[in-house]
Symmetry: C3
Subunit: 341 residues, 3 copies
């Protein structure tokens, strides 16, 4: 990668530079493995001992580490070093990324009535359905399908092989990773004489602005009304979002989370990897679910909630798990003893 | 959406109409949010208080709610309102859907020897392999791959980007959602000197009639014999079905379920979201597995089975989880006390 | 399928043949369902009673079953019958598979600067990005995207619809199943005033030789450094591998496993289906995680580790689960009793 001078970085992103403005940075790197052409950051005092040892050309630190860092060499002091680093990665990606092109690749299939802004990009072998809208600055990657009447907002990027179903919409500045399926049918059936009668899913999916959706994640369309993902939501890979779910603004879910139909998740919530939220529940704002926890009833009070079996060496687990199956009777025996004593 | 008159609905689907046959319905909606041009349904007495308040033009109810509903306004009385509603959604989708076309999109790649019925539809950029069969009324969406010797039954619809592997087959009236992978290799290896020697997967996948498969779900091909999904099975999104599994007719699995190799699931079984069924097990007919439960041994008696850690606020969970790791010794201590007392 | 004579099999794979070398085998089959034109194997004494009953034309057995098997009919004696069977399936697949072709399908999109070996195959509607390398003998299936600067090693096969992101690489003899996403962005954000600020993911994914990756599995690119999958690793379907994870050589993970960011897994480790390994942990070599277990801290000692709630009939589970939420207080009550007694 071509280098940038520290002066360019602080000109673009702010922060106080201690050291040589002309120093050339060729990569961003973690503190512990940074080479002498790298810019690293110290976001947590826990890593303070790495600061003295790092070979990094320059380190981004908070005000409290100002002196320690300056003794070592070039330093950028920022109020929130992790936030500074996040913005630096964005700036770095823009500096080193290719310029986005506009236009329609000749191999794409554009159905009659699709409306594609001249400043949008449609990649190779993409399919854009009738009456679909693709706004200015949007980029539709290779092998994407944007079905009839769907709408893609300004500067939203669908990476390769994203499916946006009929009538679904996503707002501005979204990032959708490969394999995502928006708007498949929700899982709805009426039981009748031992068989399942399909309930056609007549709603759609509405996604707000600044939403990022990870690879192979699925968001089903609503049965009658829409499934809704509000602004600023971040979903990791391989997440399942059932029909008629609503996820409030700025909530974030880690990989492999499952959210069953009609669950209503508040704003600023988080769920760790593999958590499951059952259907028709409500989680208020600022609820945080620990990884692999199964939420089986509504949560009406903000806070952290957990429920996972603590792992152990297999022999210990076996003994405890076997006992667990008698736990209720153990309690009865304890009660009996208490009465006696 | 263009409207339909209540008379048309009862003419098509039956039920007793109380009220004005000429009333025009423009949408289907939930009872609580229905506008005055909507048809809603009351499937469970739990929602009875919504009946009086709803603005819906007409409500579908069971015989027990006949009087209460009629007082309110236009009503359709049906023996099973939820089933009536399911059929109504199907009828509605047919009325408002586009007419299915037949033919082969010019951008599709059809390999020599593929047999495509003239009344089937092959969408843009689909690939149909040698000697594959696509039956009358089948629809193969954009970016699907139907590999050599695979067979797609009558009126089965593969939504966009479905993969049907070599020699795999699906029966009639199936619905397969985007991203589904049928017939990838099962996970089979022989351990040898610390390495894994691949066992080629020589079986296929056979899927019956009236099966629906959710987005990004995977069904692996068998090692020697076939993986089998019987008639009427419904699988939600992001489900993993290992090699040589058999799922009995009319069973249904919610999102994120995992079924390991050679498990045999009976007929009319269900599994909640995130449940895991280990390999080489048998579940008899009418077994119901609660969400997130891990089935570690065969179940030979119909019924509901569960095994998930109850969630709690994080502090309570931490205390209980820590104690759980000493549960076996607590039992020993209880026994000691019991002997003494 | 056309048949092969037993003599051909032992000529290719070794083993001692007892019986008629000219006997024709038309299929490989499990011991219990084998027809009289099939070759079966007995890998475990547990299945010994099936040996007498099988209709198989010939059975592969270990030295200990030599006599019993020979009494029954044609037999191949091998030191490790399961390993012999694995190699037989490979030989069988080669014998019966179509010959791999080389070349570029006319419907593929090859961007300028891509380097494709003349002995590689690029399937229909694949997209190969600028400066990507595809080595000799590699096969890129229908609808794959190999993005700019990615590298595909010799004889590696991407089945249909695989995504290899910009700058990612996979070594030789890999097998990647449909729907796999290599090199989507890792899930990294800095929290700022209630919103999530994206950390651009500037690393890539590096995959070694002889790696197999199951359908719809995702491996994210690193934030600053690369996510690394070492030689001989086997990943099943629908697995999530977060950014900066390292999986050591010859480790194997079953379906639906989730590995959070920056976890470091040793060599020769295994994880059962649905296991979750949290981020920033270390697992040393030869650690084995039971299905559905959640690993919440580093494991520095080889062995088997477990942590899952034992399932039960629903009524029993409910009683035990309810009691579990009072477990800590039960311990306190037990302590109180112990003091008294």
């Amino acid at each position: 990668m071509s280098g940038v001078r520290l002066a360019e970085i602080v000109a673009a992103l702010g922060g106080e530079l201690l050291g040589e403005p002309g120093l050339v940075i060729r990569r961003l790197a973690p503190l512990d493995t940074a080479a002498d052409d790298a810019l690293a950051f110290l976001a947590h005092p826990r890593y303070l001992q790495q600061l003295a040892k790092t070979a990094a050309a320059c380190v981004i630190v908070g005000p409290a580490q100002r002196e320690a860092a300056a003794l070592r060499g070039a330093t950028i002091v920022a109020d929130d070093p992790y936030l500074y680093f996040a913005r630096l990665t964005q700036w770095w990606a823009r500096m080193h990324g290719r310029t986005t092109v506009a236009g329609v690749h000749p191999s794409a299939v554009i159905e009659p009535g699709a409306v594609i802004h001249p400043a949008a990009w449609i990649g190779p072998l993409a399919v854009i359905g009738a009456r679909a809208h693709v706004a200015a600055g949007a980029a539709i990657g290779a092998h994407c399908t944007v079905q009839a009447d769907a709408r893609i907002g300004e500067n939203t990027r669908l990476h390769s092989r994203v499916h946006i179903g009929e009538g679904c919409l996503i707002g501005a500045r979204g990032i959708v990773h490969p394999g995502v399926v928006i708007g498949a049918d929700g899982f709805g059936f009426a039981a009748h004489e031992g068989e399942w009668i399909k309930i056609e899913q007549l709603g759609a999916v509405r996604i707000g602005d600044d939403v990022e959706i990870g690879a192979n994640t699925c968001i089903d369309r609503g049965a009658l009304e829409d499934t809704v993902i509000e602004d600023g939501v971040k979903l990791d890979n391989l997440i399942q979002v059932g029909h008629n779910v609503r996820i409030g603004a700025h909530s974030a879910m880690a990989g492999c989370v499952g959210i069953a139909g009609s669950a209503r998740i508040g704003r600023h919530c988080t769920a760790g990897g593999g958590a499951i939220i059952l259907g028709h529940l409500e989680l208020v704002d600022h609820v945080h679910i620990t990884a692999a926890t199964v939420v089986t009833r509504s949560i009406l009070k903000p806070g952290q909630y957990s429920g996972l079996f603590p792992f152990d060496d297999n022999a210990s687990w076996e003994k405890n798990a076997a006992t667990l199956r008698q736990l209720h009777s153990l309690r009865e025996r304890l009660r009996a003893l208490e009465k006696k004593s």
